[in-house]
Subunit: 258 residues, 2 copies
């Protein structure tokens, strides 16, 4: 009797044509049948955005034994919604997103379309992992990531993930990894975020830009520190974003305590 192979859904935010997703597809194919639903165009920085005001469209762009690739006009979240509602008409066993060309650690998890796909997968009840490499280059070298990505895919296919938890996995720029660290999200913010690009005499045009400033760059528990110090950072991410610690205080302030 032949065992049914796991069904692995792949998405990203750099588009279906990015090198990172092609490498990810190759890395995960040994572990299951692969369906790719990814944006037909750059959707970087789209976070959990969805298409509320325009229709979304998809088309098949490649098909072979064990692999079908669809390009979708929408955001990463749209891609996951299309896949589960229409293309698969059900849930895959695993969702992997990426490999992103660029860092998605720390508060970048909020802005990242790569993470958006993983969060949508997690909300849907599917174990989901986002992979990112701290290298923006179009031709970045993803080969050194293969072994750890395959280890994590095997682990999550076997063990699953807790409900409402997905993984944000970031690889440092330099490939001689010191090891893997399970991390907390580094807190901090971007600064100097606007680069002027005046147009026709109007100075009020800007590119988003800037640098990330960690509040505590020496916090060895943080993904920021791990990446700065040569470790692969795995940050487990919660889709339940309730700030439980503040509930009691807020009830007291509002006199709504029962």
């Amino acid at each position: 009797m032949k065992m049914k192979r796991p069904l692995i859904l792949v998405s990203n935010d750099d588009s279906v044509n990015a090198k990172g997703i092609k490498e990810l597809i190759n890395f995960v194919r040994p572990f299951g049948d692969v369906v790719v639903v990814a944006p037909d165009f750059h959707q970087s920085g789209m976070g959990c955005a969805l298409s509320a005001s325009v229709p979304i469209h998809y088309r098949e762009v490649h098909k072979e034994e064990g692999l079908v690739i669809y390009a979708c006009s929408g955001t990463p979240v749209d891609c996951i919604k299309l896949a589960k509602n229409e293309i698969l008409k059900g849930l895959p066993d695993l969702i992997v997103s990426g490999i992103n060309h660029g860092d998605n650690s720390a508060v970048n998890a909020h802005y990242s379309g790569t993470m958006g796909a993983a969060i949508e997968g997690c909300i849907s009840g599917v174990p989901s992992i986002a992979f990112s490499l701290c290298d923006h280059a179009e031709d970045a070298n993803f080969t050194p990531l293969k072994e750890i990505i395959q280890q994590l895919v095997k682990l999550v296919l076997a063990e699953g993930l807790p409900q409402w938890t997905c993984l944000n996995v970031n690889f440092p720029f330099e490939p001689d990894y010191k090891g893997i660290k399970v991390c907390e999200q580094a807190m901090g913010r971007w600064v100097n975020e606007l680069d002027p690009c005046p147009r026709l005499g109007d100075p009020n045009y800007f590119w988003l830009s800037g640098n990330f400033q960690a509040d505590d760059p020496n916090n060895e528990k943080s993904d920021f520190w791990a990446l700065q110090n040569g470790y692969v950072a795995i940050t487990p991410i919660s889709v339940d974003v309730t700030s439980y610690n503040y509930i009691e205080t807020l009830n007291e302030l509002l006199n709504t305590k029962e």
Copy 2:
């Protein structure tokens, strides 16, 4: 000696022309000087999306004593980044976002551009509140929200909010509120999310649509339950989305425990 009035930054995702933001501006003006930086066009469902691939632009559209309004071409997060980096060249004392035409409770917090502005405010270190009314109508009646919004604005101006926590405040459709409940984010997901809208014989076009399905609709601690039962739901939201509960288990699974 005249006390300096607080500086209140207002944004939303329904655009600078929406009734909800006009009402919110009126509700908060008694408490400070108001600067509005809001999208010039609908940015619903944009979550924490930012403009990574196109420049953003802003222009002044209204000015009077104690109130300046700017329209911005970008997302709600872009609006906050423009405000702090360029327009205010510093941080306001409070950020309020909304009033959204439609429900942003439960997992909708991830998709909501109204919440995106509040999360960006919170990351920036500013006490931030998102307000939403469970009524999509363009001419929804926001008057019944005034008293509670003013109560919350006064409270947060006086007490602040904990670092990395912002508020997601949702008002039920019916205005005879039973009271205020401090809530947990309801867990669940949207189902039946695609409405076909075929074009030129191609069936692969869809509008996002659907219904929210709460996992436990009887969970009286959840914002979903509160809204269904006539309460104003205040869900404190954490910008630190680390899933702390899973760190130890993941370390054991990966043999990365120290």
